[in-house]
Amino acid sequence: MKRATKNMVRFAHRFWRGLREWCGDAAYERYLRSSAAQSDGCQRLTAEEFYVQQLNRRYSRPNRCC
């Protein structure tokens, strides 16, 4: 029983994380972990700047199909 609960919690945790990754909710956290954001030469973007820049890039190429 305890094991089943633990597995369910683990599954729910993974599902939640996957959902956040899929919809872009975790994009800024991922950016902060990336080597580009951690390199000294680059100025780190704020959450707002990152969000707007990311959208402008995404919607400048085909990203939705028929």
Binding site: C23, G24, Y28, R33, A47, Q54, P62, R64, C65
Partner: protein
């Protein structure tokens, strides 16, 4: 075991001639075929043809910048890729093709996906991964020829224009004279603006919470739409004809393209993605729960080309009507766009490229089931134009009953009342009939007859919402293409942030697809009859372009022995698109051939048979038919030129007397990731 079960189910749907067939046979046949295709054929492609190499660093590892190049878990990327490729096509195409009966469309959906669509998506994804995420146009330029690249770029713009015009027509036909549906869809705009402002200024980037809030509001406006429809004064405000709706959609798309992307376009896309995923899951669950009976016969009399929904024989028109769901050239843009920049390992390309397309094919099969589960007479009543079936309900019911599909005017009036519409006659485009099918499945699962109208308008909102998402995102991308092409003539025009250029290019692209939309709205044959085949031809021609590029790359890789993998689907696509193009231009039946229709109208005009009030409309109609013929001819010609270019390349590769052209792959770099790395950062798990 799975193969035997699949073969049995396929046999059942192919040879059963009973009164009706349970939809579960479709689900079993499709799922078993997909499992066998994935387990065997995609494994063969991965191991023998492409030799996927997990020791090779992918673009996301080499160029990881946390923005474009992001190493992504394969399940998450599968979701991204599927959300990108699955648009209205796999829902609308099979619904329209149901006029031939359930069998041809279902077989093409399953076989087309396994042997053509999935192959195209998988191989183009692989090719793009090996080239740092280059687009299909760039790969065509490098691997085929410069002219080939330019043709691919023009083909993409052409298909974009036709696609946007056609899907906008589907929305217009779904909203026409429906205050409930029009109100619901109109309200999604302020909801999207609200979500956009929240995501920009209140909690930047918190997509999940903002989207859930927006989805909740959308559910509320679906219900509130009934109050609007019941109010005589408000119902009048939201009851619009085809032409005003067409112009409203053009104005919306222009605004979405020119406004900052965070304000309207992106939040709509978030809302649409959540509702799309939810509705597709709900449809699958509903079919499994209700297990409806398919009432449409396996083959109808309309395989002879006399179909009321669109004219043309089963060959080639079934294969161009169902593009997305079987094979769609547009997917090659996604497979050579975002996905290759995010893939973690080469081996994931099999699951994402091949697997996501199988899932889209399954969506197409579900749409076919939903369309065929309604009474055939109702299906034809919704999708047939009055010029074919008759202008009055009684006349139309008599015509449809005469085809062997019993129907009364009272049945249609009762159904329209049950779903909260004024009428369901002449609602061509596939969306309303699919919505009726979905609503019947949903209401049999939850709520019964009482909730039929709510489910119908939920289904209409779901279809219209993500069609508009394709429309605004496509208009914006089309705007960039126009700016890029215009920049070759006058450099400042290419500056994407320069407002005069933004406004002018947005107006140009909206004007281009808006013209096709307008001609569809005013077409007496219903618009879909002319425009959907045109869209199917252009989409399949783009798929042929992608397969030409893939064949060239495989030949350069020395995979001559396995070249039939891409060559056969390419040859099939060239045969069906060229046959369909020829028939659409030159067929002597005015309902099929653009020129025959134009000539018939011109003859009536010359004989003085057109009333004075319709002279201008008729002249415009003649021009439109000739324009459609010219567009079809240009598209076909572009692909012929590209094939000739490719044949020269192939000869050079295969001929030992000449030096083989070089392969433009990125150099091999060994991965630094451990074999078990799955894209999960430390501390996440």
């Amino acid at each position: 075991m799975v193969a035997v079960l699949g073969a049995g189910a396929l046999g059942k749907i192919a040879f059963d001639r009973g009164e009706s067939l349970n939809a579960m046979w479709f689900v079993i046949a499709a799922v078993c075929c997909y499992l066998v295709a994935y387990r065997l054929y995609s494994a063969f492609l991965a191991a023998r043809l492409l030799a996927l190499d997990d020791t090779r660093a992918t673009p996301s590892e080499r160029n990881d910048d946390g923005r474009d190049f992001v190493p992504t878990n394969k399940w998450v990327l599968f979701g991204h890729h599927f959300a990108a490729i699955a648009g209205p096509g796999p829902l609308v195409g099979p619904t329209l093709a149901a006029q031939f009966g359930y069998l041809p469309g279902t077989l093409w959906l399953i076989a087309g996906a396994a042997f053509a669509g999935c192959v195209q998506d998988f191989i183009i994804l692989f090719c793009s991964i090996r080239r740092d995420g280059k687009s299909i146009g760039q790969m065509a330029r490098e691997e085929v020829s410069k002219r080939g690249g330019f043709i691919a770029q023009l083909a993409v713009l052409a298909i974009m224009v036709i696609l946007l015009g056609v899907v906008a027509l589907v929305v217009v036909n779904a909203l026409k004279s429906s205050p409930w549906a029009t109100f619901t869809l109109a309200m999604t705009i302020p909801i999207a603006l609200l979500v956009g402002l929240y995501l920009r200024f209140v909690r930047p980037g918190r997509v999940l919470e903002a989207s859930l809030m927006g989805v909740g509001l959308i559910f509320f406006v679906v219900v509130a739409g009934q109050w609007v429809a019941d109010s005589p004064s408000w119902a009048q405000v939201f009851t619009l004809g085809g032409v005003p709706l067409a112009f409203a959609i053009m104005v919306y798309a222009f605004a979405a393209s020119a406004l900052p992307v965070w304000l309207l376009l992106a939040p709509r896309d978030y809302l649409s993605a959540f509702i799309k995923a939810g509705a597709i899951f709900a449809l699958a669950a509903g079919i499994l729960f209700v297990r409806p009976h398919v009432l449409m016969p396996p083959l109808t009399r309309f395989i002879d080309g006399s179909g009321p929904v669109f004219a043309g024989k089963i060959f080639p028109f079934c294969f161009i009507t169902i593009a997305c769901g079987a094979i769609s050239g547009f997917h090659s843009l996604i497979s050579s766009g975002t996905t290759p920049k995010m893939i973690l390992r080469e081996s994931h390309a099999r699951f994402i490229g091949y697997g996501a397309m199988l899932l889209e094919s399954f969506v197409g099969v579900m749409a076919m089931v939903a369309a065929c589960a309604m009474t055939p007479g109702v299906y034809f009543a919704i999708n047939s134009p009055p010029s074919i079936v008759g202008a009055t309900p009684d006349a139309a019911a008599a015509t449809i009953s005469g085809w062997g599909f019993p129907l009364t005017a009272q049945t249609m009036a009762g159904l329209a009342h049950a779903v909260g519409e004024q009428t369901l006659w002449n609602r061509a485009g596939g969306a309303p009939s699919l919505a009726v099918g979905m609503a019947q499945i949903f209401s049999n699962t939850i709520g019964g007859e009482r909730l039929l109208s709510i489910w119908y308008h939920f289904a209409i909102m779901f279809e219209a919402l993500f069609i508009l998402t394709v429309l605004d995102a496509g208009t914006r991308v089309g705007r960039f293409m126009v700016q890029e092409l215009g920049g070759r003539v006058w450099k400042p025009f290419a500056r994407t942030g320069w407002m005069p250029s933004v406004l002018l290019s947005s107006a140009i692209i909206v004007g281009m697809w808006g013209y096709f939309l307008y001609q569809g709205v005013v077409d007496p044959l219903g618009g879909i009859n002319s425009l959907w085949p045109l869209f199917g031809i252009s989409n399949q021609l783009l798929a042929a372009v992608a397969l030409v590029v893939a064949t060239t790359i495989l030949l350069k890789m020395g995979r001559t022995r396995w070249i039939w993998v891409t060559l056969l689907p390419m040859a099939w696509l060239v045969i069906i698109t060229m046959t369909a193009s020829y028939q659409k231009i030159f067929d002597t039946n005015p309902r099929i051939g653009f020129l025959a229709y134009a000539n018939a109208l011109a003859a009536q005009l010359a004989a003085g048979k057109i009333p004075a009030g319709k002279l201008v409309d008729t002249q415009r109609l003649i021009f439109n038919q000739r324009l459609d013929a010219a567009v079809t001819a240009v598209l076909a010609l572009m692909v012929i030129v590209l094939i000739v270019e490719a044949l020269v390349q192939w000869y050079a590769i295969l001929s030992s007397s000449r030096r083989a052209p070089a392969l433009h792959e990125s150099p091999y770099v060994q991965t630094q990731w451990a074999p078990g790395y799955s894209g999960v950062a430390q501390g996440d798990d």
